[in-house]
């Protein structure tokens, strides 16, 4: 059974078809990248899976069960986590608190009634938060207020928040958007490291081909909302339809 599966997924905005009959499967322990020219419907696809948008028709299944009809936080609770295109963090809280909030949601569920319980007693939450910060290399900056971090570190924190909820599947929406070359390099290292250490399954949406071809097991190419090709990086590299529709003949 695939971990994630979309079946004949369609999303229309007014008359515009943003997602056109997409059948995507992601197996456990697989690293899949979704690429495509601007406006191909990559972000729409991610937003459909995270339940930010309602599909016009079709089904999305996670671990075999349909998630259409769930709220975003319920999808996260099932094990799908998302990192955003921009550094979506809690700016006025410390780095540690940022990670703790994510860990709290993962360890204690979407809602609880513990409003008179001192947070220092939540040892499980603290441990998860600490491990997460350690793995994204921000442990030594625990007490920094998040907004004071340099942009690259904010993005690392953003990925850390997504990891702290201990997802079975991580969706990354352009994790290197707006980064300097050095920051991009260190983010790629981070992704590689997370892949090694956590054996994480992820879906990556990315513009930067270098990253895509280096971290993916499989690449899915979208154009005008539909899948036009999929395969291993080598297969995609040689695929003429892809070069035609998307890469515009650029040598890779």
């Amino acid at each position: 059974m695939p971990l994630l599966e979309t079946e004949n997924l369609v999303k229309e905005f007014g008359g515009l078809v943003a997602t056109d009959d997409v059948n995507l499967t992601v197996e456990e322990d697989e690293r899949v990248s979704v690429i495509g020219p601007n406006g191909a419907g990559k972000s729409t696809l991610i937003n459909l899976i995270t339940r930010r948008l309602d599909p016009t028709s079709g089904d999305i299944r996670f671990k075999g069960e349909s998630i259409v009809g769930l709220d975003p936080h319920e999808v996260v609770q099932l094990g799908v986590s998302k990192s955003f295109q921009t550094a979506s963090i809690f700016p006025d809280l410390t780095v540690k608190e940022n990670a703790e909030i994510a860990a709290l949601a993962a360890e204690r569920g979407a809602f609880g009634f513990e409003f008179l319980k001192h947070r220092n007693s939540l040892t499980d939450v603290h441990e998860v938060a600490r491990d997460t910060l350690d793995s994204v290399g921000l442990l030594d900056r625990s007490d920094t207020v998040a907004t004071d971090l340099p942009y690259g570190d904010k993005r690392r924190l953003e990925i850390g928040i997504a990891l702290a909820s201990e997802p079975d599947l991580l969706l990354m929406d352009e994790p290197t958007a707006g980064m300097s070359p050095e920051e991009t390099k260190s983010t790629v290292e981070l992704i590689e490291q997370v892949k090694r250490e956590h054996g994480l399954t992820f879906v990556l949406v990315e513009h930067d081909m270098e990253i895509v071809f280096s971290v993916s097991d499989r690449i899915v190419v979208l154009s005008r909302g539909g899948i036009i090709a999929e395969g291993t990086p080598d297969e995609i590299r040689g695929n003429e339809a892809v070069q035609e529709a998307y890469l515009g003949g650029v040598e890779l």
Partner: protein, 388 residues
């Protein structure tokens, strides 16, 4: 109500402390002890403040002559203080601006007054029934108003609260006595023996004044303890997360909607305790207590003092009520120790003065007077540190 919560808090305290000590030793449990100490310190200092405040305000030589305070105003400040602490949990910590909290304040005031007239005038019964009413109402109104964010929340809460006001004014006048307000509320004695209006005998009386003040003071200390604990619970973290980045909070798997509803209900409960105490304090419920200007007042007080801080809103309450009740009686503002009149009929301008200060605070120092005080403290301690 507060007694109950207090014991609940205390028992959580002991269980968690044993758990944390056995679970892991060393530095973490030490830090725990420090923080627990800090919580104890906050509550302890609050209790000391409550104990000396009416004496300083109304009876101490020189000081009280200068500030011109009086006992019942001290009581009123604590009552509004409870209201403001609860309101700040919503505005300052969760980032939701309600313009309808008069519904809970006034609703509880009416509920406790109506219970006193028809069922029992026992002060505890009054507070419990008023608070219960406020909680239920907050649950319903929160459920309806939180469907949309931003300005819609402000306008919907405002609309529902105004609806309550007009309900009380006319269709429900048989219960509320309409425009005249609920008169003839007779507050019974506490535990069947203590008359709240009576002075406390001996030294206690010199400090606290009336039993009513002591009664309200207990609730105030309880409110501070509960609010402090909430802010240091998982809820406190989640509330601030929602304030900072609601979308992100949803996408780490938190049920943002239910947490917002809880924040709304909790702040409604604080308003309910305060509203009930207001009826006990005045033996009367003015229709005005449901009017939207009352919601506006709590907004002004909270923001003026400093939303998002524990004690800022109480400071704001103190300033507001002081200006409203004491500065407003000043005939002419003179240069101290002279007869030179700066502004004639100074007290007449009290509301204008408050409005202007509020405007400036929102514009220039969004963290309020408490924020200014904190910065002065930091500045001074930095200076002192530098000199050393």
């Amino acid at each position: 109500m507060s007694e109950k919560t207090d014991t609940a808090t205390a028992s959580t305290d002991t269980t968690t402390s044993t758990k944390s000590e056995t679970a892991f030793g060393g530095s973490l449990s030490e830090r725990w002890e420090q923080l627990r100490g800090r919580e104890g310190t906050v509550v302890g200092l609050t209790a000391i403040f409550v104990a000396v405040f009416p004496w300083l305000f109304a009876r101490a030589p020189v000081i009280s002559d200068f500030v011109q305070g009086y006992q019942s105003l001290a009581t009123l400040i604590l009552i509004w203080g409870i209201f403001a602490i609860g309101f700040d949990l919503l505005l300052g910590y969760t980032g939701l601006l309600s313009f309808g909290h008069a519904a809970f304040w006034g609703g509880a005031a009416y509920a406790s007054g109506i219970v006193a007239k028809n069922v029992s005038g026992d002060p505890i019964v009054m507070v419990v029934s008023g608070t219960l009413f406020a909680v239920l109402l907050a649950w319903v109104l929160g459920f309806l108003s939180l469907r949309r964010g931003g300005i819609y929340f402000a306008i919907l809460t405002l609309a529902f609260a105004q609806m309550m006001y007009f309900m009380a004014a006319s269709p429900l006048a048989f219960l509320t006595n309409g425009e005249n307000g609920l008169t003839g509320v007779e507050v019974g004695s506490l535990f069947g023996m203590i008359h709240l209006e009576a002075d406390i005998p001996a030294f206690g009386g010199m400090l606290l004044g009336t039993w009513l003040y002591a009664f309200v003071g207990l609730f105030f200390v309880g409110a501070v303890a509960v609010a402090y604990r909430i802010l240091n619970s998982p809820y406190g973290m989640v509330f601030r997360a929602i304030r900072e980045n609601e979308q992100r909070a949803e996408f780490v798997g938190l049920n943002v909607w239910r947490y917002k509803l809880m924040a709304f209900i909790i702040s409604g409960a604080f308003a309910g305790v305060a509203g009930s105490l207001f009826t006990i304090h005045g033996s009367y419920v003015p229709l005005q207590s449901l009017f939207w200007t009352e919601s506006g007042d709590i907004v002004v007080m909270t923001v003026l003092g400093g939303a998002g801080s524990m004690f800022g809103p109480v400071l704001g309450v103190g300033l507001y009520l002081y200006v409203e009740n004491i500065v407003s009686t000043i005939q002419a503002l003179t240069i101290p120790f002279t007869d030179i009149v700066l502004i004639k009929d100074f007290g007449f301008y009290w509301h204008l003065l408050l409005g202007a200060i509020f405007l400036v605070v929102v514009w220039v120092v969004p963290d309020g007077l408490w924020g200014i005080l904190s910065r002065i403290r930091e500045f001074v301690s930095a200076k002192l540190g530098g000199d050393r």
